[in-house]
């Protein structure tokens, strides 16, 4: 049973380049059409509210999803001592930073007309920014040090795990810190009122589209890293043979 499932999963993974890109393309197109044309105009916020269909999936799937992958892969690097997991962690970290930046950017564009400012020192915004800085630091470690050094990989994995475990403390401290400041604008939480069905459907399409895009990008980055690792290994083998 498990062997059958494994071979099925392997066959499905073998089809990734034939399935993921066209599916992502169709879903992204559907999301754009849905967001720009199909979804109704929001009464209070106007056209800019259409950013929600990319902002919310970017934050939930793109940011938190990728960071979850980084966390799990980093734990596996420390546990299994397998550099293949390091390739997954690096790939997911790049995608995570990209979508965190996208979340902050679309949030700022959305915030300007609705709140009156691009940036507010709101608890959620501030902790997202700190998270962004932590994962930029992670990528910086990888950029500065030798990418094939196992010790650097372990160091980066430890850093990623500390970063992920720090998130609850950052959230708490920033929320307490924020309560001391005057609140210039009222942030309307999304879940406060139920979304109309049409908006919900478009949001769902957006979530599927971003999920596919994130999966595609992570797989692409991971396999690039794996290929780089193999080339590095082959080159080291050639060097050894020439030396002997």
């Amino acid at each position: 049973m498990t062997a059958g499932l494994a071979s099925l999963a392997a066959r499905a993974y073998g089809l990734r380049w034939r399935v993921l890109p066209p599916l992502t393309g169709v879903a992204m197109l559907a999301m754009l059409i849905g967001a720009v044309l199909a979804a109704p105009r929001e009464v209070i916020e106007g056209e800019v509210q259409r950013l929600m269909y990319i902002h919310v999936p970017s934050a939930t799937i793109g940011m938190y999803g990728s960071i979850g992958v980084v966390f799990v892969a980093s734990a596996m690097v420390l546990w299994k001592r397998d550099m293949r997991w390091d390739a997954v962690a690096r790939g997911a970290a790049t995608v995570g930073v990209l979508f965190t930046a996208l979340t902050l950017l679309t949030g700022a564009i959305w915030g300007r007309p609705v709140w009156g400012v691009y940036w507010a020192w709101d608890a959620r915004l501030t902790s997202t920014l700190v998270l962004f800085l932590i994962y930029c630091g992670y990528l910086l470690i990888r950029q500065i040090a030798d990418p094939h050094d196992e010790q650097t990989a372990r160091y980066a994995a430890v850093f990623a795990m500390i970063g992920a475990l720090d998130i609850p403390l950052i959230n708490m401290s920033v929320r307490w810190w924020n309560t001391l400041h005057p609140q210039p604008i009222v942030v309307r939480p999304l879940g406060d009122e139920a979304l109309p069905t049409e908006m919900l459907i478009v949001l769902l399409v957006g979530t599927v589209a971003i999920s596919l895009l994130v999966a595609w990008l992570i797989v692409l980055r991971t396999e690039t890293e794996l290929a780089a690792q193999r080339i590095h290994g082959l080159r080291a083998g050639v060097d050894r043979r020439e030396a002997s």
Binding site: L133, L140, I141, Y155, T179
Partner: protein, 218 residues
């Protein structure tokens, strides 16, 4: 325990023999306080609202500067490898290092507090503030000592450590500044800052002791 104390004694002796590292951190802290005084005109204004922030940024910058060198000499001379080969648990090496750094930084911080007391005419060496400084220092030193193990492997390490450490230290910085403000009589709200400081210190010291063996594994 005796292993930890042996490493601690060794590191303290080394720190004492090579005082220049800690003296430069102390000098840096003093210069930072003076720079803040000129930049924010602290001498002529009511300093109390700004003082906690000035003190803690000074502590953090001086601490990261000093802790960044924790493993540098060890890595250069190969003594870290020798220590890892010796029958001492890596955790003992880590705890010994952290204790040395805490002792060194507490000395620097007391000096800064004395300097600030003289410069700004505010009594700072109270029992409450000493406790806050002690717990906060354990919290951030545990983290920066762990992160300093990137050692000599990376180029541009001097820039890298603050960039890596400061975002992670955001909760500790906020809590320490607020708790210090509270001890100086500022209205800082009712949030349990001291609890957050203690939780952070426990989290970083336990996490550091657990993760250090994985980082230094050869």
């Amino acid at each position: 325990m005796s292993e930890t104390m042996a490493v601690f004694r060794k590191d303290l002796r080394l720190a004492w023999r090579d005082r220049s590292a800690w003296l430069s951190a102390a000098a840096f802290a003093a210069i930072t306080v003076l720079t803040y005084s000129f930049a924010f005109d602290l001498a002529t204004q009511d300093v109390r609202p700004l003082l906690p922030g000035v003190l803690w940024t000074t502590f953090l910058f001086a601490g990261i500067l000093a802790n960044g060198q924790s493993f540098q000499r060890e890595a250069e001379q190969g003594t870290l490898d020798a220590m890892l080969l010796s029958p001492v648990s890596p955790t003992a090496i880590y705890v010994g290092k952290v204790l040395t750094n805490v002792v060194g930084l507490l000395t620097v911080e007391v000096a800064v507090l004395l300097l600030a007391t003289i410069l700004f005419g505010t009594t700072l060496l109270t029992l409450e503030l000493s406790l806050i400084v002690f717990v906060g220092t354990i919290g951030y030193v545990s983290l920066t000592t762990l992160l300093a193990t990137l050692g000599s492997r990376a180029r541009a390490r001097a820039v890298l450590l603050p960039v890596l450490a400061l975002p992670l230290l955001v909760p500790m910085l906020i809590a320490a500044v607020r708790a210090t403000g509270a001890s100086l009589g500022d209205p800082v709200g009712t949030a349990p800052w001291m609890l957050l400081l203690v939780v952070f210190a426990m989290w970083t010291s336990i996490g550091g002791a657990l993760l250090f063996p994985m980082v230094t594994e050869r």
